[in-house]
Structure formats: structure tokens, C-alpha cells
Subunit: 218 residues, 2 copies
């Protein structure tokens, strides 16, 4: 860097870095929004997230929540205690594991959770201004990014078609080249899910293979 004013030339920050900056800014808005929405609902941000996750993904144990929300167990444990005190969730023994307990929202908790699920909707509104084509391109970018971040262990391997046992990429030509073997239905690239309840994690080798197959042709 010298003392010259900035010119818009090759020395400008690379596109990838500016994309990162942009995502950072968007992330800031999300954080603030979540905080505020939670507060007006009488919850904390994490409490809202927990309820939303339980409503979206059925009863879960503490450790599952911990993985999905990217915080440690103690943090979950704390928040859950409060939620139980508020009678928004109940605990019941988990048949799958000895010491685990399944968390289920009460009716009141389910209602708040359903509302919390719609917190990111303000962003969906902001996306509406993009043309459908731009939206598709944007979504494709997001899917690829998430996959990369999952590979680096920064995002849990949950809910995305492209890491699911039942996903068959590029099995035909046309607008919907992919296939979901679970519901036996064709699938276009912009119908891919990020948060499917039925998601079952494929093995590591299978995931790698599926991803390569997915990238091939488009």
C-alpha cells in the first residue's frame, strides 16, 4: 500500500474477498435481527433457536441440539433448563441412549418455536428483489459454499440433500436432473433442501462421490 488514492484496478480486493465482506455484513444484520426478535418474544436468542430447531426437526437430545446450533453442551444445558422452567419444553427419556433425554416443546413452546422459525424471513424479503434467475444463481452459490464449509467442519452435516443417503445427483437430463430416492421424485438444482427432516447422512466416501457427480454437468 502506498499513499496513492485507491483506483479501481487489479489492485482492488479480489471478488472472493468482497463476497466474504458482504456475507459478513449480512451476518451482522442477522445477528441483530435475531436478538431483537427474540427479545420481543420474551426469549433469548438461543432459546428461540432451540425452540425453532425442535419444532422443525422433531424431538432431539441435548447433544444433537449442541451440534446443530454450533454451541457446546453446557450452553445448551443452561438454556434448556430455563426453557423447562418456563414450561416451554419437556424432557423425556431417550430410548436410543441411556443417559440422554429427548426434548419436546409444549404447545406453548411449539407456538413460540413456529414463530421463531420465521425470524429469518426478513431476509427472504430482501431476496425478493432479485430476479428469479439471480435467485437461482445465488442459491447455487450458497449450496456450494455450505458444502465447502462442511468439509472444513464449520457447519454440521445436517439436512442438506447433497450429503444425504437418498440423493442421486445428475441421473437424467432436463430441468430436474437429480433424484430423491426416499420419496422417489425428480429434483431440480434449485429445489435442493438445506434442512430436510428426512435427511440421513451418507458415508464419507459416498458424500465425496455424490458431490463430484453433482458438480459434473449442469
Amino acid at each position: 500500500m502506498d499513499t496513492e488514492p485507491p483506483y479501481f484496478d487489479a489492485n482492488s480486493e479480489p471478488l472472493a474477498a468482497r463476497i466474504a465482506t458482504g456475507l459478513h455484513k449480512i451476518g451482522l444484520a442477522m445477528k441483530q435481527q435475531a436478538w431483537q426478535q427474540a427479545n420481543t418474544a420474551g426469549l433469548s436468542a438461543t432459546q428461540g433457536q432451540i425452540l425453532a430447531t425442535l419444532v422443525a426437526g422433531g424431538p432431539l437430545s441435548g447433544s444433537e441440539l449442541s451440534e446443530r446450533l454450533g454451541v457446546t453442551l453446557p450452553t445448551i444445558s443452561d438454556s434448556v433448563r430455563v426453557l423447562v422452567e418456563k414450561t416451554l419444553v419437556t424432557k423425556s427419556p431417550d430410548p436410543r441412549h441411556p443417559r440422554a433425554s429427548l426434548l419436546t416443546p409444549t404447545p406453548k413452546g411449539a407456538e413460540l418455536g413456529a414463530r421463531a422459525r420465521s425470524w429469518p424471513e426478513f431476509m427472504a424479503d430482501a431476496v425478493q428483489d432479485l430476479t428469479p434467475e439471480e435467485q437461482r444463481a445465488f442459491f447455487a452459490g450458497i449450496v456450494k459454499m455450505i458444502r465447502m464449509l462442511q468439509e472444513q467442519g464449520l457447519i454440521p452435516l445436517t439436512g442438506m440433500c447433497v450429503t444425504c443417503k437418498h440423493f442421486r445427483p445428475n441421473v437424467r437430463t432436463g430441468p430436474a436432473p437429480h433424484h430423491c430416492a426416499l420419496v422417489d421424485a425428480p429434483l431440480s438444482s434449485d429445489q435442493l433442501r438445506l434442512d430436510c427432516q428426512e435427511h440421513e447422512r451418507a458415508s464419507e466416501t459416498a458424500r465425496r462421490e455424490v458431490w463430484e457427480q453433482f458438480l459434473r454437468r449442469r
Copy 2:
């Protein structure tokens, strides 16, 4: 919603909502990453952000920081106190305002700040897998989204070309249709800056007009 298993049909979540979900997941990774990077540098997340912002944008006052980082003054005040104790920033009177003080990083602080600026780079890496074309589309989407969110008051009006006094959108045809009047240089859509130091906020009516002009033709 009924009891049927989910089919990939029109009843699936709309694309915009899934984009929001995706951004949410990416935001999660950013949060975690920031926390971890800050910790290994011996800082807290906000302290790192403050240093990075000061290094990137020159000396700022507390309220400017507060606006850019989207937290209230007390929070900034707290963190700055710690940074001063650690001798990473110094305060000096601000000539522009009576009661304000300009915050300047010390050499040690500047070094940490420079390092903190590169924290979002892990995301830039994740973007590298997108084709250049995909990157451009992705970036275009981000710019539009940020603009929308700014209009809703969720992101500060700072640093983006499209809200700057010196920006002239679509003044010519060809690959670089825009123009920056400050450095008097042509500008393509994917050279737009999100964090220009020289940014000067245009008036509200000017911003609205510029944006309309920007959307027209592409």
C-alpha cells in the same frame, strides 16, 4: 401441512426462504470462526472487530464504531476500555466534536487489527470453488441484498459504492458501465466496493435515484 411425507413439489419451501436458511447457516459458521480466531489471538470477538475496523477505516470515534459494528455505545465503550488497558489503542481528542475522542491503534494494536481483518478469509476460500461466473452472480445478489437491508435500517449505510456521492451508475455501455467520480475511473458491476474508505454518503433522494439507475439495464 398434513401428515404426508414431503414431496419435492410446489409445496416445498420457496427458494427465497431456502436462501435465507442458507445464509443463516453461513452466518453460524462466521460466528464460530470469529470467536475462535479472536480467542487464539488473545482477544474477544468484538475487540478483534474494533481493531480491524480501526485499521481498515482510519481513526474513528466511539459512536462511529458503534454504528459500523451494529452494537450500542455502552458495549463499545466497555470493549475500548479493555483495549486501552491492553495498550492496543489510544484515545485522542477529536477536533470535529467537543466530547468525542478519536481512537487510534498502537503499533501492536495495528498488527493485531491487520490480522483480524483476514478472519473472514476462510470464507473467501470457500468461494473459490465457484466458477467466476457464479461468483459474479453471487456478488450481484449480495449487493442487492445489502441494499435492501440498508433500506430497512438493518445495515449501516457505510462503504458501499451504490450509496456514495461519487458513484455514477450505468453511464456507458460495455463491461464497465459505472463510474467513480472521485478517482475518475470506470467501474464494472463486480468491481463495486462494499467497504471503500473514501465513501461519502449521498443524500436519501440521491441514493434512491442512483439505485434505480443502477438497476436499469445490466
